[in-house]
Amino acid sequence: MITELIAIINKNLRRLLRSKTSSLIILIGPLLLIGIIGLAFNKTGLFGIQIGVFSETKNDLVNSVLEKIDTEEFKMVMEESKQKCILGVEDGRTHLCLIFPPEINSTSNIEFHVDYSRLSLVFTLLNVISTKFNQQSSEMSMDLTKQLLEKVQETSKTLGDNANLITTLKENARILGDKLSTTVDSIENLGIDTDLSQFNVTLLRSQTEQNKVIIGDYEESVSTQIDESLVQLEKIKQMVIVAREDVRNRKKTTENLKESVDWAYEKQLCFAQQTEDLTPYLDDSEALNEKLLTLNNPTCSFLYTAQKNADESLETLETTEEQLNQLLIDIQKAKVELSEFKDESTFVFEAANTQLDTAIETFGTIETSVEGAKTQLENINSAKQTLSSDLSSANQLINENMLTFNTIEGIFSNIQNSISDMSIITPESIIRPFSTQIKPLKTKMKMLDYFFPSLIVLVVMFVSVLLASTLVMKEKETSAYFRNFITPANNFFFTLGNYLTTLLIAGVQISIVIIIAATMFKINPGANLGSLIVLVLLVITLFSFLGIIIGNLLRNEETTTLTAIILSVIMFMFSSMIIPIESMSPKIAGFARINPFVISEEVLRKAIIFNRGFFELGGSITILLIELIVLFGLTIVTFKVAKKQAEE
């Protein structure tokens, strides 16, 4: 069996390698592939991207954005117009067209014009450019946010400083409310509802007229009595004059008596030491005798006491005279006053009469006015009720305003507290509430490192599918096909031989690719070389089976090659190599996820980039193995179909 298989493989290899061109392609193809790809992608980032820029106005903001972008990766091409800028992308002269609006603000947009037909480039380009714009935008936002935060802090401070305004406002409102309440009470207590009918002005006028008559009578009586009083006063005056004359006489007598006493006192030679006032004893004869017994000279004391009494009497008489003089003056004054009173009363009565006339007249007027006042009062009463109601409403509103003021005060307080409690107080934490840092799972990797697993699968897929299908078809098309089947060799050996040949060639090619990648481009093929070899063999097997199935089913080399290429391209297209699977419709994406290319890429990526061992590949390896089993089954079935076709 081994001999036969080796013979088949040997034959296949000889057939393939017999052509120098084929040999070169098989051996040099992988070298060229890895060489070109390695040189092309053995770097990070983009290179030589031309960006067309059009800006109507050039300001610092535009310049700062352009400076941010203008790096080694990107070359700026200033365009004359918007149309030329867009045309540049269409013509392929530039990769992207940037159009700045006349004014950059929050409502204006910076336009990116990209050619989405360049799928492989456009997303990477947009990602890089957007990142740069976002950086610039973040910086601008940072400044604006800083200003915003400063304003917020200022607001908080202003709120704190002016919190008492609300309190004042509340107090004023409270006072106003109280005053309104009082006013309402006052208004309600206003006796506006007084019954004006109580004002009986007519009666008053009648009484006034009667009073006028009474006053007239009284005037006459008063005048008579005043006249009589004047007469009586005159009589009293005369009597007082007589009394005054009598006092004056008594005074003269007393003065004479005194002169006699003074003379006796001098004649007696009385000294001051020899005298004592006996007046207190005059009313008690015994006390007076006892006193006299004690005195040196009782006559002097008597004379002294008489002298003193005479002085007192004189003094009394002078006082009485003065009083009588005063009485006369008063009587005269009274007479004058009575005359004046009489005149005045006459005037008063005349005035009173005039007043009463006027009053009577006024009462008439008042009578009319009261009637008007009644109406006015009714109006006022109505207005009072309205006013009272309005004032009550106003008061209620003020009370409500008080609640509102409380709410506002609470809100202001909350705002202040919220501002105080703000934990995010730096512009950075607002612009970037959480910081993101894209950390590659593997660091310091070049594009080729990431691309390498896909490259291997790509090479394996195209080589295996094309080679296996070509081998089967070449075998079917050769006349030796029949001779193979009439030999004792098991028929399936030829399929197995084709598979092993494909495995060998693809294996050699992948080995060349890996060795060159590892030595020349320092690509790490993964720590677990054993797993990698097994996986590569499985992937080659998978695609070889696909190729064999195609070869078995089809009937000529051209359609086989075409089908193999189309199938490979479909698998390639429905992977994430050009367009992410996630951008496909869910149903198609579901199929795409079990696409042998995708599964193979996944297992190799895990093995190469993440150094996963064979048994650490999870579901991917299971799917791969299931697909292998299914394809193996299909290989056998299609081989039998092909043999049957050949027989016919």
């Binding site: 001999t3 036969e4 080796i6 013979a7 088949i8 040997n10 034959k11 000889r14 057939r15 017999r18 052509s19 050769t478 006349s479 030796a480 096909y481 029949f482 001779r483 193979n484 089947f485 009439i486 030999t487 004792p488 060799a489 027989e647 016919e648």
Partner: protein, 311 residues
């Protein structure tokens, strides 16, 4: 004598078409057996069924009394098969092709090398052993195919249209080669639609038509039994053979049937001498110039035509 191969009421159908319809004949050891029939008669199907490539629907194909389908591995070791399609790889050299097939027959390396030398010398290609097959001429390729068919020293060699496409010289050379091989003791079964070829080299012939064996026997036996005419090979100018034949029949000439062979027409007639007179007269009448005329003894082709319904 027990036949080495025996077809017993063999039927084979492809899709709805019956290709073999009750085939019965025997082949004996050492025979050079010819199977003659027109294209589509079932020759190739019959031969491929013999080596087990096709499984027959009913009937038996016996090799030394054993059914071939039950002993396919042995049968494949015993049978060699040469085709009209050169069943080898054009990209390989003569030796590489033979070495490859030798290994598939599980021959020891030494024996393979010996057989390569022996067979290439036998077919006259030893000097070209390292020449790529597609760089060789058609005759050489056919001989290489023969060598490939013999690499495992088969007891029976089946040759399906072995000289198709070869010029007469190469064809004769091939016939000689086949005879030499047969002389080595190998039973040979040849299928061909060239009656001359079968007549020249085969010791026994079976005629097949529409999946049925019409007759079997040696060429001489068949000619003796079934030939009643002589052949007149006629070439004229401008060569209005249809008018010539129609005029001959109109004038009472006895023509069994005719067939065109290149620029010539072959007339099968019971009495060639009488027919020749009538032909010359008609040619003169029709202003046809006689370019060539030849009268032959009856051949196997006449028998074949008789059985297959030719004119």
């Amino acid at each position: 004598m027990q036949p080495i191969i025996s077809f017993q009421n063999v039927f084979k159908q492809f899709r709805d078409q019956n290709v073999l319809k009750g085939i019965n004949f025997n082949i004996y050891q050492g025979e050079l057996f010819g199977l003659i029939g027109k294209s589509g008669a079932g020759k190739t199907t019959l031969l491929r069924s013999l080596i087990g490539f096709y499984k027959v629907d009913s009937g038996k194909i016996l090799y030394k009394g054993k059914e071939v389908t039950h002993n396919l591995k042995e049968i494949k070791q015993l049978f060699g098969f040469g085709t009209q399609d050169n069943c080898f790889y054009q990209e390989l050299t003569c030796a590489e092709n033979m070495r490859y097939f030798g290994k598939l027959y599980r021959l020891p390396k030494k024996r393979i090398e010996q057989n390569i030398e022996r067979l290439l010398k036998l077919v006259g290609l030893w000097e070209f052993k390292n020449q790529i097959a597609n760089e060789m001429s058609g005759g050489m390729q056919r001989r290489l195919d023969l060598a490939c068919a013999l690499i495992h020293d088969p007891k029976i060699l089946i040759l399906d249209e072995p000289t198709t496409g070869l010029d007469p010289t190469l064809r004769r050379s091939m016939w000689e080669l086949i005879e030499r091989i047969n002389l080595l003791g190998i039973t040979i079964i040849i299928s061909s639609h060239l009656l001359e070829e079968i007549e020249q080299i085969c010791t026994k012939v079976a005629m097949i038509k529409s999946g049925r064996i019409l007759v079997t026997g040696s060429p001489d036996q068949l000619k003796e039994l079934y030939s009643k005419n002589e052949e007149i090979h006629l070439e004229t100018f401008p060569g209005r053979y249809n008018i010539i034949i129609a005029t001959l029949i109109k004038q009472g000439a006895k023509i069994s049937y005719t067939r065109q062979e290149g620029h010539k027409i072959v007339l099968y007639v019971p009495q060639a001498e009488k027919a020749l007179h009538q032909i010359l007269h008609v040619l003169e009448e029709l202003n046809e110039s006689l370019l060539d005329v030849d009268v032959n003894k009856p051949s196997l082709s006449e028998v074949f035509e008789a059985f297959t319904g030719g004119k």
